[in-house]
C-alpha cells in the first residue's frame, strides 16, 4: 500500500521521538525562552494575543499549503490571491452599502464573496495543473502576476478602503473575541484542528500523501490522483478566502502591497514544520509551529535592540535553514 510508505517516521515515534519531530518544537521553545529573558512584556497576554492574531493569516493559508505540498504540488499565488480577494471584497461591500446599509447582512455578503472567490481561484489553479497538466510552479507563478496586477488595477494604483462606518462595524471580527481570545486565533485553531484530523485520520490525508509520494503507485492503488490534487488547491483557495475575511477588518484596506511574500512565508512555515517539499509526507501541527517560529522571530527582534533591523531578514533565513538541517540530520541517521 502506498499509504504505508508515507508513514515511516511515525512508526519510529513510539520509542524516542525523532529529531524531525523534536526539532521544530525545540526551536520554538528556545525562541520563547529567549523572548521571555529579553523582555518582560514578551509573555504578557497582550503580546501573545498580538502575535497569535497576526500569525493567523499566514497560518490559515499555511494549513492549506501543507495539503498542496503533501500532494506534490506548490502554490505561489496565495499572497496575490489574498490581496485580490481583499480588494474584491472591499469593492463589493462598498457597492452594496447604499442598498444593504451597515449591518450583519453586508458583512455576510463580503464573507461569501471572499469564500467563493477563493474557491474559484483555487479551482482555476487546480484545473490548469491537473486537467491541462502544466507545472504547478509555472501555473501559480502566472496567476500570482495576474492577481497582483488585478488588485493594482482595481485600486487604480492606490489603496482600496472600506467605507469608514462599515469598517468600524466589521472591526471586532479581528480585534474582539471570546474570553479574551481574539477571533483570528479561534478561527486559526479550528482550521488547524480540522486540518490535523483530515491529514492524519481521514482518507483524504492518506490520498494526499500517496499522491505526493508516488503518483503512479497511488494511481494503481485506486487513488484518484487528479481529483486529490484538485481538492487540495480548492481547499487552499477556500482558506485564502477565510484568511482574507480575518484580514480585511484589521486595517480595512487593500493595495498592491497587500500580502506581498505571504506565499513564501507560508511555504517556509510548512517546510520548517517537517512537511517534505517534494511531497509524500505532511504534518499540519508542524506547520503551526513553523508559522509561530516565523512570527516570533519578527516579534522578538522588534521587542529588543540586539541586532540592527537591517539584519532581520538574515536572522529569519538562518533559522529557517537551521530548522531544516536539524530534520535532515535526523533522517540521515535514522
Amino acid at each position: 500500500m502506498a499509504t504505508e510508505t508515507a508513514n515511516p517516521p511515525r512508526a519510529r515515534r513510539s520509542a524516542i521521538p525523532s529529531m524531525s519531530v523534536l526539532g521544530p518544537i525545540l526551536a520554538l521553545v528556545i525562541l520563547i525562552v529567549i523572548g521571555a529573558a529579553l523582555n518582560g512584556n514578551f509573555l504578557s497576554a497582550g503580546n501573545i494575543n498580538n502575535v497569535l492574531s497576526r500569525s493567523a493569516f499566514i497560518g490559515i493559508i499555511a494549513v492549506g499549503m501543507t495539503f498542496v505540498i503533501t500532494a506534490g504540488g506548490l502554490d505561489l499565488s496565495v499572497g496575490s490571491m489574498a490581496a485580490f480577494i481583499a480588494g474584491l471584497m472591499i469593492l463589493v461591500m462598498n457597492a452594496a452599502l447604499p442598498s444593504l446599509g451597515v449591518g450583519v447582512p453586508i458583512i455576510l455578503l463580503g464573507m461569501l464573496v471572499a469564500l467563493i472567490a477563493g474557491i474559484v481561484a483555487g479551482m482555476l489553479n487546480g484545473f490548469l495543473i491537473t486537467t491541462l497538466g502544466i507545472e504547478a510552479f509555472i501555473v501559480t507563478l502566472g496567476t500570482m502576476g495576474i492577481y497582483r496586477s488585478l488588485v493594482t488595477w482595481l485600486a487604480n494604483g492606490g489603496t482600496l478602503s472600506l467605507d469608514f462606518d462599515l469598517r468600524t462595524f466589521y472591526r471586532p471580527v479581528y480585534f474582539d473575541g471570546v474570553l479574551g481570545i481574539a477571533w483570528p486565533i479561534i478561527v486559526f485553531a479550528v482550521v488547524v484542528i480540522l486540518g490535523e484530523v483530515l491529514m492524519s485520520k481521514a482518507r483524504f490525508g492518506r490520498h494526499c500523501a500517496a499522491t505526493g509520494s508516488n503518483e503512479h503507485v497511488a494511481h494503481y492503488s485506486n487513488v484518484n490522483v487528479n481529483r486529490t490534487r484538485m481538492l487540495t488547491y480548492i481547499m487552499l483557495g477556500l482558506l485564502v478566502g477565510v484568511a482574507t475575511i480575518m484580514y480585511v477588518p484589521r486595517l480595512g484596506s487593500a493595495s498592491a502591497s497587500t500580502g506581498v511574500l505571504w506565499e513564501l512565508e507560508a511555504i517556509a512555515a510548512v517546510i520548517i514544520g517537517g512537511t517534505v517539499l517534494k511531497g509524500g509526507f505532511g504534518r499540519v501541527w508542524g506547520t503551526v509551529i513553523g508559522v509561530l517560529i516565523l512570527s516570533l522571530i519578527d516579534n522578538i527582534l522588534n521587542l529588543t535592540d540586539l541586532v540592527s533591523p537591517y539584519l532581520n531578514g538574515a536572522i529569519q533565513g538562518v533559522i529557517i535553514v537551521l530548522a531544516v538541517i536539524l530534520q535532515r540530520e535526523a533522517k540521515a541517521k535514522g
Partner: protein
C-alpha cells in the same frame, strides 16, 4: 547623431506628411514607475492629468506616457521612445538611479532635452532640468514640528521606510532637527512604507514601551497602520502621530481637526506635473527653464490643509 535625428524627423514628417502642422509638432516622452504603491499611484494620476491638460493648452505638443514596473522595463521604454517616437524632450522619474543613468545619458547626448524628477541620476550634469523632492527637508520639517509640539521633550518611536538613501536622508534630517529639544527616540524600526508591517511594528513598540508620547510614522500609509495598532491597544499615552507625503485621507483628517493627526508633511507626488509643465514651457517658449527646481516639503496644518486636499486623486 544630430543629422540622424533630422533624417528621422524628416522621415516621420514625410510619413505623417499631411499638414504643415505636423512638422512643428514636438513630442515629449514621460517615463515613470508603475503604480505599485500609494505614492506612485498618485504620481501616475498627476502625470496623466498634467498631460491631458497640456495637450489642450499646447496643440503643437504631443505626449507619450510609459509606466514601468522595474528598471529594466523603464530602459526599454526610453529606448522605444527615442527610436519610434522621435521625442524632443524626455521627462523621467528614474526607478533606480544607477541602472537608468547610462541610457538617459545617451538620450541626452543625442540632443534630447532631459528632465529628471525626484530621484537624481548617479552622474551629475546629464539633465537639463532637475525637479527634486527634498528628503532631508522632509525630515527637517517633521522634526521641527515634533519639537514645537513637545516643548518639554518626551519619548517617541520612529517608523522608517524601505532601507534606501531616501529613507536615510529623511531620518538624518529628522534627527538633527530634534537635537537638543529633549525629545528622545526610544525605538526605531522599518515599517517599509507598508500598512501591515507598520501595524505589527507599532503593536510591538506598544508592548515594549509603557510610555510613548508621540510617533513619527514618516509616511501616511504607515500612519494608518500605527493608528490602528494604537486604537486596538487602547493606549491613551500617545498624543499624536505625524505621517508624511500628503495622502488625501490624512490631509482630510488634518482638515477636520483630528487630535491624533494634527499635521502632515508633504512630499507631493504631483511634482511630476511640475516637471512636465516646465518641460512644456521650455519646448514652446524662449523662457529659460534649465537648472534645479527643488520642491520643498511643506507643513500641512488645519489652517492650510484645504490647499493640499485632492479628493479625486487615488492617493
Amino acid at each position: 547623431m544630430s543629422y540622424l535625428r533630422t533624417i528621422l524627423a524628416g522621415t516621420a514628417a514625410a510619413v505623417i506628411g499631411t499638414a504643415a502642422l505636423a512638422q512643428d509638432t514636438k513630442v515629449i516622452g514621460v517615463s515613470i514607475p508603475a503604480a505599485t504603491h500609494g505614492w506612485a499611484g498618485g504620481m501616475n494620476f498627476h502625470a496623466q492629468e498634467a498631460i491631458d491638460r497640456l495637450e489642450e493648452v499646447y496643440p503643437d505638443l504631443d505626449f507619450v506616457l510609459a509606466t514601468a514596473s522595474d528598471a529594466g522595463k523603464q530602459v526599454n521604454d526610453i529606448e522605444d521612445m527615442v527610436a519610434t517616437r522621435n521625442i524632443s524632450a524626455l521627462v523621467v522619474l528614474p526607478f533606480e538611479s544607477d541602472p537608468l543613468t547610462p541610457p538617459v545619458q545617451s538620450v541626452a547626448d543625442s540632443g534630447v532635452w532631459v528632465t529628471v524628477v525626484d530621484r537624481g541620476l548617479s552622474v551629475p550634469g546629464i539633465e537639463d532640468l532637475y525637479v527634486a523632492g527634498d528628503n532631508a527637508g522632509f525630515g527637517k520639517v517633521s522634526g521641527e514640528y515634533m519639537a514645537s509640539q513637545m516643548p518639554d521633550g518626551g519619548k517617541i518611536v520612529v517608523l522608517r521606510g524601505i532601507p534606501t538613501t531616501i529613507d536615510n536622508e529623511r531620518v538624518e534630517g529628522f534627527q538633527s532637527a530634534i537635537e537638543g529639544s529633549g525629545i528622545e527616540i526610544v525605538g526605531m524600526e522599518h515599517g517599509n512604507w507598508n500598512r501591515d508591517d507598520s501595524f505589527n511594528v507599532m503593536q510591538d513598540f506598544l508592548s515594549k514601551y509603557d510610555q510613548i508620547d508621540a510617533v513619527w510614522a514618516s509616511d501616511d500609509d504607515m500612519a494608518v497602520g500605527v493608528l490602528a495598532a494604537i486604537e486596538a491597544a487602547d493606549r491613551q499615552d500617545v498624543k499624536f502621530v505625524l505621517g508624511g507625503a500628503g495622502m488625501k485621507e490624512m490631509v482630510k483628517r488634518v482638515m477636520d481637526g483630528d487630535a491624533m493627526i494634527p499635521a502632515d508633511v508633504t512630499y507631493p507626488p504631483s511634482m511630476i506635473a511640475t516637471a512636465i509643465e516646465l518641460t512644456a514651457v521650455g519646448m514652446t517658449s524662449t523662457a529659460p527653464v534649465s537648472g534645479t527646481f527643488t520642491i520643498g516639503s511643506v507643513l500641512v496644518t488645519k489652517d492650510n490643509a484645504e490647499q493640499f486636499y485632492y479628493p479625486d486623486s487615488p492617493f
